[in-house]
Amino acid sequence: MKTIKLDALVIGGGAGGMAVAVELTKSGCETILVEREESTGGVLNQCIHNGFGLHVFEEELTGPEYADRFRHQITEQAINIHSNQFVLRVDPDKREVITVGREGLTCYKPTALIMTTGARERPFSNLRIPGTRPAGIYTAGVAQRFVNLQNYLPGKRAFVLGSGDIGLIMSRRMTLEGMEVAGVAELMPHSGGLARNIVQCLDDYDIPLMLSTSVVEVRGRERLESITIMDFTPDIKPIPGTERDIDVDTLILSVGLLPQNELVEDFTQLDPVNKGLRVDSHQRTTHPWIFAAGNNVTVYDLVDFVTLEGIEAAKSAARMIKGEDLNCRKIPVERGQNVGAITPLEVCLDELPFKFYIRPTKNINKAKVSIGPGVANTVKLGAKPSEMIDIKITPKMKEKIRELDLNEIKVSIEEV
């Protein structure tokens, strides 16, 4: 087996991994990025719609364009990308990673490991919706790949379950390609996708969005023939008598992304709400060798956030590689009211700024985001679960935490 000693190994070449690799290389660290697919870019490659890059590049790019910006930097800086490499094992004790590719096995021995393995789609069968198991039921990502990369249509008349962004995007895409989209159902009383996607992907094409509605049965022995949908109360109880059938041959699922951490979850901690790796404000996991950024930490709304977190992870990893001691006092973060996913979950009490990304659990017209008690308060209009709130924590605020001698930092979103 070929063995490679190096400063940093990045696993996963999507948006997060590319940003990490570029940033690490800029800092002078010898870096290799391993990617299981043929090329880098991850899911960006099949996201041919625009809307990426508003924060990072201050312009609207398509997914492939966004990925290209980073590929360009990767080429310029001659960063080593080892593609078609599947990670078989991460050994936290020997601090080595074994991959397999067509040319055989490789053992990487990096000083720092950065996990940017992203998320996967929650599959239909995980929902335990009763009925048959016909052809014609796909996650939105699979349908997107079939349509955008392989140029085939999944069916003729579709229904979309879940209002995640990719489901909304695919509703529009399928409509434009001549399919009929009968509607989008969302179990929650609020959309899972961005407001701009509701307008641009559903409203513009007269596709109904049915909130507090879900699919409760699927039928069809061979191909999907019909589904039953039903209304739910805001606290997710089915309302008997509201069942109605819709004839469709295709059901597209956009019911959430699940962070993928199978490689490291036996020796790192996951957060049950984020469903991803617990990281501190250095983007370091609970294992000191391993950093993480992107959708394997928590599922972000915008690829821009993934890129920015990747850059933070790379900065911290670079400091560790150069022998700096990252250890300092850490204050745990506690979820207060109306806070769902939040990262990081520990604040390192050094001088470095960082950002909290916070997902509200419900729609709040005028929300006060409080970090503290007594560290920072921000008012946010129109807070909603589909849009993360990012709050910058400055060195000054850290000073305040020290002054107040807090032993936990509570983050909450109050209605005002």
Partner: protein
């Protein structure tokens, strides 16, 4: 060679496949007809996948006669045919004082049925092996010879081995008629007609699962009426670990063996089945139901605590053929040459190897007086499907050395490589499910979210068909309907 009797076996489930293979050990010319596009896709596909100990079938029943012997034969069959089988042992768990006498009864019955090494274990022993069992457990009846397997692989491997030995396999053909002739000795078989052709033969083995009664009717032969009994299941992700290491049964009811919890061969946790008797005309109703799935969760949670239902990778329902006498129907009929291997309720999978032997050495040789001449060329061995152990990189290195396509991982959840997918297609997979059941690709936690488009493309390339001709399984199950506008 003109002396060869010709046999048509109807149904490539685990019973039909093993019978067909057994026939190849002798001087028969055999055709196996299956309506699905692959072996093992009917009753065989969706059951608890258990090799039962054989302790609980009432002495004197046909199933009692075959279960214990079938269990014994599974070791040899698994070695010859290369499918996985693990003798992980089973418990019948008692949760109250009232249930304890039942365990005693099982112990006595095991003795009568000749099932070795069974004993009653106390709470500590049970919890040591299965930490998540409800601590209220009082005692358990332990049967160490019980095991688990992948039933469809038993059928697939049986068919593949039989084909290597000269059997003709006809998947995707539906039997439409059994033609008979009237002779001096009564009615005899002329041949089997399908939607695609006619197969002249002397003997028909009816292993048609849920439809065995219909097939018998076509021949004018006797067979008990069969109705489907639905069993619903929930499969949990292997990532939750070995919370259960043995097959766990509750104390059985009069209707069924109860709702079980057990590990699967590849490390997942299977919960089920329910037992719902359906009308005779619902032999295609494999839909899961809200009530059924709820029952699975509720009943298993009485027995095993903290099963993480959120880690569900699949729910499914299977149908088992049930007859009024609740027993197998095996043997000759009023039509000479028409042999039933029917009404294979539980423990049909376990009994299958023993039934296959019985059909040859007893039913054909003795009851029908067909002389059995051994086939000296019969090769019982089938190369196992290549597998790559998750925890042993050295095996991977060796395999990639041999064929670089072992270095291309297609299914990331179950770590299945391009080489394995191509091997599956080369050995008979014609659909996504064909690949899935042979390799476990798309069988894992993402259920094809990453690999489905890749599997479809490999299948299209290997079969040399356009992508939109690729099917999930039999029937109108094409994945895609048309092209994106140019």
């Amino acid at each position: 060679m003109g002396e060869k009797q010709s046999v048509v076996v109807i149904g490539a489930g685990v019973v039909g496949s093993l019978i067909a293979r057994e026939l190849m050990k002798y001087n028969f010319s055999v055709t196996l007809i299956e309506r699905e596009e692959d072996a093992g896709w009917g009753v065989t596909k969706a059951n608890s996948a258990i090799i039962h100990g054989g302790y609980d079938d009432p002495p004197g029943t046909v199933r009692g006669e075959f279960a214990a012997r079938g269990n014994e034969l599974f070791t040899q069959y698994s070695e010859e045919l290369g499918f996985e089988m693990k003798r992980i042992g089973s418990y019948v768990l008692a949760f109250s004082e009232e249930e304890l006498p039942h365990l005693k009864e099982l112990e006595e019955r095991a003795e009568e049925n000749g099932v070795p090494n069974c004993e009653i274990h106390g709470k500590d022993e049970i919890l040591k092996r299965n930490p998540n069992v409800n601590p209220e457990v009082k005692a358990g009846f332990w049967c160490p010879t019980a095991g688990i397997t992948e039933p469809w692989m038993v059928a697939i491997a049986g068919v593949e081995n039989a084909v290597l030995n000269g059997m003709v396999f006809k998947p995707g053909e539906t039997v439409t008629d059994i033609e008979t002739v009237e002779g001096e000795g009564g009615t005899a078989i002329k041949g089997v007609r399908t939607d695609k052709g006619f197969y002249e033969c002397d003997i028909v083995i009816n292993a048609a699962g849920l439809y065995a009664d219909k097939i018998a009717e076509m021949a004018g032969a006797d067979c008990p009426e069969l109705h489907p009994r639905k069993g619903e299941y929930i499969l949990l992700d292997k990532k939750i670990g070995p919370v259960v290491t043995n097959v766990l049964f509750p104390v059985p009811t009069k209707v069924s063996k109860g709702v079980l919890v057990l590990p699967t061969v590849d490390g997942g946790i299977l919960m089920g089945p329910t037992a719902e008797d359906l009308e005779r005309d619902r032999k295609e109703d494999t839909a899961t139901t809200a009530d059924g799935l709820r029952e699975v969760v509720q009943k298993t949670s009485d027995m095993v605590v903290d099963l993480p239902i959120s880690e569900t990778v699949k729910t499914f329902a299977g149908l088992r053929p049930e007859s009024p006498q609740k027993d197998f129907t095996i043997g000759t009929t009023s039509v000479w040459g028409f042999v039933n291997a029917a009404a294979m309720r539980s423990p049909g999978l376990t009994a299958a190897p023993a039934i296959a032997r019985h059909i040859c050495t007893r039913v054909l040789a003795e009851d029908l007086n067909v002389p059995l001449k051994e086939n000296p060329d019969f090769n019982p061995k089938l190369d196992p499907y290549p597998s790559l152990p998750e925890d042993d990189p050295s095996v991977w290195a060796e395999m990639v050395e041999k064929d670089e396509r072992y270095g291309n991982v297609v299914c990331v959840c179950n770590k299945v490589t391009e080489a394995q997918v191509i091997e599956a297609i080369r050995r008979g997979a014609r659909t996504i499910d064909g690949i899935k059941f042979r390799t476990r690709a798309s069988f894992g936690r993402c259920q094809g979210g990453f690999c489905l488009p890749k599997l479809a493309q490999i299948l299209a390339d290997e079969l040399n068909i356009p992508l939109n001709e690729v099917k999930q399984r039999s029937g109108e199950t094409k994945l895609l309907t048309g092209r994106v506008r140019k």
